[in-house]
């Protein structure tokens, strides 16, 4: 996919930062490529997190992450209107369980007011329990912040990348960067060259939005002056039967190192509890642990006493790409053209759309010419959520296209037409389908739908069934009776 042509911007990393930047750059007459090392965009940090667009009162305005938080919050809402990913403006209830915490949460509220966050309120215990009757009777008061939302971050990033693609950005997956060559010493105007395992990409500017691996990428460019210290967060999803146990994001009073264990409704009607916060060495460690589960549920029960491990339907762990500076590492480097967008830890997901705008400004300062396209189209047809339509609309869709009446996933009621739409937008692995449509995310965890999805993926890509993967190279699902397992399956691409 890479070639001799010199792009204006090569973005390394197809997460929230890379995708929102790709979209922002797609407004202009520019040649942009977005490289993702995994099988699909949003398969890294952006996939495994709490899925919250933060209220924006928590982070100090003295930090870059604090300054980007509220503009980012507004940015996601706009993207939601344009693209139709799942986002619910459920608000945040920040709970105090003793008098000291009451003081602390009011300080956070005042910080929010200074940052211009509208609508926050200080609630009495009574008011809090009226709004959230399943909270502990120990509650002493709370701060209400109506700006907080829950969303499907992976779906959001996938649709943002898709709209960038529709506007001309090249999205290249399974592109693991193995080296970055500097410009020719004799001729410093030659571009940076990004080498991946399979291709070569040249760019006047290279953006390092590589999440957990941003320090490694900086090293390739010879400018590693920060370290990424992965901080693991374990999350537990509870059965939909608990829907309504809380109707907003319930925050404990934060400690100096973490926002603590949250209990929140998800866009899809499940309840999520988590995360933990543990610094780990292994950037590939997505494991959940017994200790993590115990910690999450002990903490969650302090807020909502009836929360139980028995209701877990799925669990996952994500790694936050925390930099050793404890703030975002954003800006030009000594390597001309190489710009960092690294260390994007919480509330980095929230801030991403604002960070994208900041990066566009930085690129302009560095000499990138920005000429707006007349035909830029920021909106795209919203994905159909069949299960959320009323019967008349469902009947109308099914009359037009019988594939809307063919069920693929029974737990989440996902139809063949929705799965095909996701594939048309770039999904080419089981996880890609899952994160775009929710197939396989329900109670049976794919027992029923896996085969149907594998058939559709194979047909859509024109590949044999054993080449269908869970999430790209090496993640084969089945093998032929006679052959050895496919260990290097390349999908899509």
């Amino acid at each position: 996919m890479g070639d001799e042509r010199v792009r204006d911007v090569v973005i390394i990393g197809g997460g929230a930062v890379g995708a929102t930047l790709a979209r922002a750059l797609s407004r202009f007459h520019l040649d942009v490529a977005l490289l993702e090392w995994q099988a699909e965009v949003a398969f890294g940090v952006s996939k495994a997190n709490s899925g919250i667009v933060h209220s924006a009162m928590h982070a100090s305005p003295d930090t870059l992450k604090g300054r980007l938080e509220y503009p980012g919050n507004l940015g996601w809402r706009q993207l939601h209107d344009e693209l139709g990913f799942g986002l619910n403006n459920v608000g945040e209830v920040l709970v105090a369980l003793d008098d000291e915490q009451l003081v602390r949460i009011e300080q956070i509220r005042q910080q929010g007011i200074r940052k211009g966050i509208p609508g926050t309120q200080a609630w009495t215990a009574e008011r809090t329990l009226h709004a959230q009757p399943n909270l502990t009777r120990e509650v002493k008061g709370a701060v209400w912040a109506p700006t907080a939302c829950v969303f499907n971050p992976y779906e959001a990033v996938m649709l943002v990348a898709d709209v960038a693609r529709r506007n001309g950005v090249t999205i290249a997956e399974e592109q693991r960067v193995v080296g970055i060559d500097p410009p020719d010493v004799e001729d410093p105007d030659t571009p940076l060259t990004v080498r991946t395992e399979t291709d070569v990409w040249r760019g006047r500017f290279v953006i390092n939005a590589a999440g957990l691996f941003a320090d490694d990428i900086a090293e390739f460019a010879g400018v590693r002056d920060f370290e990424i210290l992965p901080r693991k967060g374990e999350e537990y999803l509870l059965d939909k039967r608990l829907a309504g146990i809380v109707s907003s994001i319930i925050f404990p009073c934060p400690s100096p190192v973490s926002k603590g264990t949250l209990v929140n409704p998800t866009v899809d009607g499940t309840i999520m509890v988590g995360p933990t916060a543990q610094t780990v060495d292994d950037k590939f460690d997505p494991s959940t642990t017994e200790e993590g589960a115990a910690q999450v549920f002990t903490n969650a029960r302090k807020l909502v006493p009836t929360i139980s491990e028995r209701d877990i339907i799925a669990e996952f762990a994500g790694l936050r790409p925390v930099s050793d500076t404890e703030d975002f590492v954003v800006g030009p480097t000594e390597r001309r053209g190489f710009i960092n967008a690294a260390g994007i830890q919480s509330p980095g997901l929230t801030g991403a759309p604002a960070l994208a705008d900041l990066l566009v400004d930085i690129l302009a300062n560095e000499g990138l010419e920005l000429e707006e396209k007349a035909d830029w189209e920021p909106t795209a047809p919203h994905p159909v959520r069949f299960n959320q339509l009323d019967t008349e609309d469902q009947q109308e869709l099914a009359r037009r296209d019988p594939r809307y009446a063919h069920l693929i996933c029974r737990c989440e009621i996902i139809t063949e037409a929705e799965v095909r739409d996701a594939m048309d937008r770039g999904a080419h692995t089981l996880d890609g389908l899952k994160f775009r449509t929710r197939v396989g995310m329900g109670r049976c965890q794919g027992g029923f739908c896996t085969w149907g999805c594998m058939q559709l993926l194979a047909e859509h890509q024109g590949i044999p069934i054993p080449e269908v993967t869970k999430r790209g190279a090496g993640t084969w699902i089945v093998c032929d009776r006679d052959d050895h397992p496919v260990t290097t399956a390349r999908t899509g691409g």
């Binding site: 997505p286 027992g447 093998c479 009776r481």
Partner: protein, 428 residues
């Protein structure tokens, strides 16, 4: 050869609607028709009727129901022949998304679109689903290559693909045992079956025929404590457990494998029951039912594995026949059998189905024991009936036929079902 019987058009009202065309649904539809109900609809989400039977290509089915030893697909075929002889509307590739308490059924089908039909009575025959990794919280990574035994069975037996080359099986449920043998026959190396409990969860005959006969080790009181692999599974860690079922990690060992199959139990698929707000019995996980398998919502019946997980398809067919016949009666406005005796699980009994009995009709009580008793065992149905059996084990369902005569004089009573060793009873 698949038998299909797609209706030319869907009626707006049926006497009896059967959800699911596995062994329960097929038998219920037949019984409802034989009871005189004329308009019967049976729907199934899969492309062909037969349910999970279709992927159970091993033998051992049908000894009771058809008096011959047949495979799952053959059993399905025999059961389906009875349906086809009887003019039942069968709609496949169809999913019931919603049933109102007024018994309006909403279904989605590529052939019939998004439709609603009204029904006089409803038989829920949706079967069971497998417990997943999430249900038992195995810590570790999330590589490809971890799947339920039933999904692997579908991949191998219906579609001809293997789940991997070196497999470990966690849980000794029947599907896991059957798959241990199946995979061995397919050339997959099965490195062992690991069972948390001190006894196998599957039938004794399957332990012998599927493991012992193929030299596949069964590790009791041992479980998987970690799964390794960033992409595809490349190993698991197993450890013995103590008497409290806690893993002894200092005695753990690693196994190099690319596949982990889970056979850790089935759960009644009671989603429709929940949606209809039926009373549920938490222990088997299905609805509370009368002696005719009628649930807490009049006109709604449940039969088969969505009620409680049976050990044999034959029992499912028998139970569903009772449900289907009663559903036919209700649709036709006939008298319901009086439910005047309550049954409840007692000593060493995990659950009992049904939950009430009738002094007007014969019925079968089914239950599972909690602990195995490897010797003479006395079964009690309160003071109404007792029977001695040679042994009882949790994997094998125990049944008692209860005639109206046995219940004479017990109307209004609650009868406790016990399963205790004969010696213990003599002592007490």
């Amino acid at each position: 050869m698949p038998i299909t019987a797609q209706p030319r058009h869907l009626l707006s009202r049926y006497d009896v609607t059967v959800v699911g065309a596995g062994p329960a649904g097929l038998a219920a539809a037949v019984a409802a028709r034989d009871q005189g109900a004329e308009r019967i609809l049976m729907v199934d989400r899969d492309p062909e009727p037969g349910g999970i039977l279709l992927q159970c290509i091993h033998s051992g089915f049908g000894l009771h129901e058809f008096k011959q030893d047949v495979t799952g697909p053959e059993y399905a075929h025999l059961a389906l022949e009875r349906v086809v002889e009887r003019d039942v509307d069968v709609l496949t590739n169809t999913y019931v998304t919603d049933v109102s308490r007024e018994l309006r059924v909403k279904l989605m089908s590529p052939d019939a679109g998004i439709s609603t039909v009204d029904t006089g009575s409803l038989v829920i025959a949706t079967g069971a689903r497998e417990r997943t990794r999430a249900a038992i919280k195995i810590p570790g990574e999330r590589p490809a290559g971890v799947m339920t035994a039933g999904l692997a069975q579908k991949m191998v037996n219906l579609h001809g693909y293997l789940p991997g080359r070196r497999a470990v099986i966690l849980g000794s449920g029947d599907i896991g045992l059957i798959m241990a043998r199946r995979l061995t026959l397919e050339g997959v190396e099965v490195l062992g079956v690991f069972e948390l409990l001190p006894f196998a969860s599957g039938l004794g005959r399957n332990v012998v025929q599927c493991l012992h006969d193929f030299d596949i080790p069964l590790h009791l009181s041992t479980t998987v404590v970690d799964i390794h692999g960033h992409q595809r599974t490349d190993g698991v860690t197993v450890a013995p457990v103590d008497d409290d079922l806690q893993p002894q990690l200092d005695r753990s060992w690693d196994i190099d494998c690319d596949t982990l199959l889970l056979s850790i139990g089935l759960i009644p698929d009671a989603e429709l029951a929940r949606q209809l707000q039926l009373s549920l019995d938490p222990r088997p996980g299905g609805p509370v039912v009368s002696s005719t398998m009628e649930t807490s919502l009049p006109g709604v019946f449940a039969a088969g594995n969505n009620l409680h997980v049976n050990d044999l398809a034959d029992w499912v067919s028998q139970e569903a026949s009772a449900a289907g016949a009663a559903a036919g009666d209700v649709a036709l406005g006939r008298h319901r059998a009086r439910q005047d005796v309550t049954v409840t699980p007692g000593r060493n009994v995990a659950y009992v189905v049904p939950h009430t009995l009738s002094t007007e009709r014969s019925q079968t009580v089914s239950f599972r024991v909690k602990q195995p008793i490897y010797g003479d065992t006395k079964l009690h149905l309160g003071d109404a009936h007792q029977r001695k059996v040679r042994a009882v084990v949790p994997p094998e369902m125990v049944t008692m036929k209860v005639s109206p005569k046995l219940l004479d004089g017990f109307a209004g009573d609650t009868l406790r079902v016990d399963a205790i060793p004969v010696e213990e009873e003599e002592e007490s």
